[in-house]
C-alpha cells in the first residue's frame, strides 16, 4: 500500500537520476563496444578500445601531462589557500569582508574570460603558451574554492592553539608547519583533492593556454573532432573514473575535517 502511495516519488527519483547519469552510463557502456561505432545496439563487452587507447602515445603522454599539472597546480593552490585562510582567520585584517570578496570573486568569472585575460597577460610578460601556463591558470581558478574550504575549518579554537605555540617560542614557520598545518591536515587534503579533480577535468584554459604539450581533455577534444569512436568513450570513461576516485577521497577528508571540528 505504502509502496503504491509513494510510487510517483520513486518514478520521479528514477527520472531525475536518469537525466543526470544516463549520458555518463551510455558513455561508459559504449567504451566496451565490440565494433567501430559507439551506437546502439551494444555488442560486447570488449576491452579492445582501452587497449588501443593505451597504445596511443600522444594520449598517454597527455595523460601524464594532466597528472603533473593537476598535482603541481593543486600543491601551489592548497599552499596559497592555506596561507590566505590562516592570515584571514588569525589576523582578522581590516576590510576582511572586502578581502574575502576579492579572493572569492574569480569563482564567478567564466573560465573563458580568465583564459583570455591570462593569454594576453602572459604574452605581455613573455611567458609562452605551455603546460606551465595551464598550471598557472588552474591555480587562478581553484584558489577561491581551496581558500573557502580551508577558511571554513579555521575555528576560534585554533586562535588559542596558535597563541599557545607562539607563547612557547615557536616562530611563524614553526607554528604553521608543526602545529596549524597538522591540525588542518584533513581540510588541506580535501582542498588538494578537489583542486586536482577540477584541474584534471578542465578544458577551456588548458586548450587556450597550451601549445605543443597538452592535457588529456584537449586530446579528447581533438579526437572528438575527428569523429566518434569507442576509443573516445574509453578515454572519457578513464577521465570520469579518476575524477570520481579523487572526489571520493576528498569527500572522506571533508568528512574527517567536519567531524574533527565538532
Amino acid at each position: 500500500m505504502r509502496l503504491l502511495r509513494n510510487l510517483p516519488s520513486y518514478v520521479y527519483l528514477v527520472l531525475a537520476l536518469s537525466f543526470i547519469y544516463l549520458p555518463v552510463v551510455v558513455l561508459v557502456l559504449f567504451s566496451f563496444q565490440d565494433g567501430v561505432l559507439p551506437v546502439f545496439p551494444f555488442t560486447g563487452p570488449s576491452l579492445q578500445w582501452y587497449e588501443k587507447m593505451l597504445a596511443n602515445e600522444r594520449l598517454v603522454e597527455s595523460l601524464m601531462n594532466s597528472v603533473v599539472v593537476a598535482i603541481l597546480s593543486s600543491i601551489v593552490t592548497t599552499f596559497l589557500g592555506f596561507l590566505a585562510a590562516y592570515g584571514m582567520a588569525r589576523r582578522k585584517p581590516r576590510f576582511a569582508g572586502g578581502i574575502r570578496f576579492v579572493l572569492m570573486a574569480p569563482l564567478t568569472v567564466s573560465y573563458l574570460i580568465i583564459a583570455m585575460g591570462m593569454l594576453i597577460t602572459l604574452n605581455l610578460i613573455g611567458i609562452p603558451k605551455s603546460l606551465f601556463a595551464v598550471g598557472l591558470g588552474h591555480v587562478v581558478i581553484n584558489l577561491p574554492l581551496c581558500f573557502a574550504i580551508i577558511y571554513s575549518q579555521f575555528g576560534d579554537h585554533l586562535r588559542n592553539i596558535d597563541w599557545a605555540a607562539r607563547d612557547l617560542g615557536a616562530s611563524d614557520a614553526q607554528t604553521l608547519l608543526r602545529v596549524i598545518a597538522p591540525i588542518m591536515k584533513p581540510s588541506l587534503l580535501a582542498s588538494f583533492c578537489l583542486s586536482a579533480t577540477l584541474s584534471w577535468d578542465e578544458f577551456i584554459i588548458a586548450f587556450l593556454l597550451s601549445r605543443f604539450d597538452v592535457t588529456l581533455p584537449v586530446i579528447i577534444f581533438e579526437m572528438l573532432r575527428a569523429g566518434l569512436t569507442p576509443e573516445v568513450n574509453a578515454a572519457g570513461t578513464m577521465v570520469f573514473a579518476i575524477s570520481m576516485l579523487t572526489i571520493g577521497v576528498s569527500a572522506i577528508f571533508v568528512f574527517i575535517a567536519f567531524r574533527g571540528k565538532k
Binding site: N160, I161, W163, A165, R166, D167, L168, G169, A170
Partner: protein, 357 residues
Amino acid sequence: MTKTIVELQNVTKSYGTVVAVDNVSLAVSEGEFVVLLGPSGSGKTTILSMIGGFTVPTEGSITINGEDMTGTAPAFRPTVTVFQDYALFPHMTVFENVSFGLQMRKTGKAERQQRTEKSLDVVGLSGFGDRSVDQLSGGQRQRVALARAIAVEPAVLLLDEPLGALDLKIRQQMQGELVHLQNNIGATFVHVTHDQEEAMAIADNIVLINEGKIEDYGPPARVYLKPATLFAARFMGESNILSGDVESSESGFVVVNTAIGKLKVPGICEIGAKVSIAVRPEQLHPGTQTGEEIIDIGEVQVSEVTFQGTHRLCRAVPTTNQSDLSLLLRLPPEQRVKVGDVMSLYANRTQAVLLEK
C-alpha cells in the same frame, strides 16, 4: 621588600570607542599569587592578555623583570599563558605537548626528556606521556596545559580562567593543587577568574576589576572584610547595604541617617554626603547588647529561612521599616527560627564599613 616582577603603568586598552582597560597601574611582586577578579567584560582577561603579549596596550607601559615589554611578542617574554580552553595540540601526545616549548628553545634531548617528565610528575600525570590528548578528561587536560607551561620554567605563569570548564569538585581540588604547585615551583602566578570564592581560596592578593578599572587591591581577608568600594562590597560575597546621608562627623566616627535609623560607624566624611554602610550577613547577630562597640539594628521580622548546613540564611524586614529594605542574615544552624519570628539584631561597630555612594 620583595622585588616587583610585573608592573603596569597607566595602561589603557581601547577598541574604537570602547575602553576595555582604563588607566590601570598595578605592581606584582615576585613569587606572589595574584588573582584578577571581576565580572565578565570587566577587562581582566584583557589585562592578562597584555601581560602575556597577545594584546598591545593603547597607552601606558608594561615592565616585566625590569625590562619594558609593552610591545614585545609573547615568545620573548618570561611569561607563559595557560588558556581557558587549554589550547593543547590535538595531534600530539601528552609528552609531545609538554616538551613542545623546550623543543622550540632547542633544549638538548636528554634535558628535554628529563624536564618534561618532571613537569608531568609535578602535575600528577607521570606515566601519561604516551596518551593522546583526546583520551584525557577535562581535569587531566588542564594538568597537561599546566605541565606544558611550567616545563619552560617561566618567571610568571598567566592563567586565564583555567578552572572555568571543570565541575565544582574537580575545580576545588585544582584550586588547592594550584596553590601547592605555586609554592613548589616558586613562580609568580597571575590568575584570572570571575569566581570570588576561588579568588579568596587561592590568592595572596586580589585585584578586583570592574569596567576596566581597579576597584580594590589587597589580601583576600582585607578585601572581603573592609572592601574599598560599594562594588567591592557587593561583588565579594553578600552584603547588606544601608544607604543614607551623613548627619555628623567627629573624632573618627560618622552618624548616618538610614532607613533603619541613625547608625554611628567608624569613618570620616563630609556632612550631608550620601554614603552606604556595608555589613556582611554573618556580622549581624540576634539579641540585644549595649556598649560603645555595639550598633543596635533594632527589631526585625523574619520573612524567609533557608537551611544551608553550615548556617541558616534568613531574610528579615525591620519592623520600623520606612522603605522596602530587607536584611540578609546568617544565623547558626542550631538556632531555630521560622518565618514570622521577631528578633532584635546588633552588629559590631568596627565591622561596619563606610563607603562612598
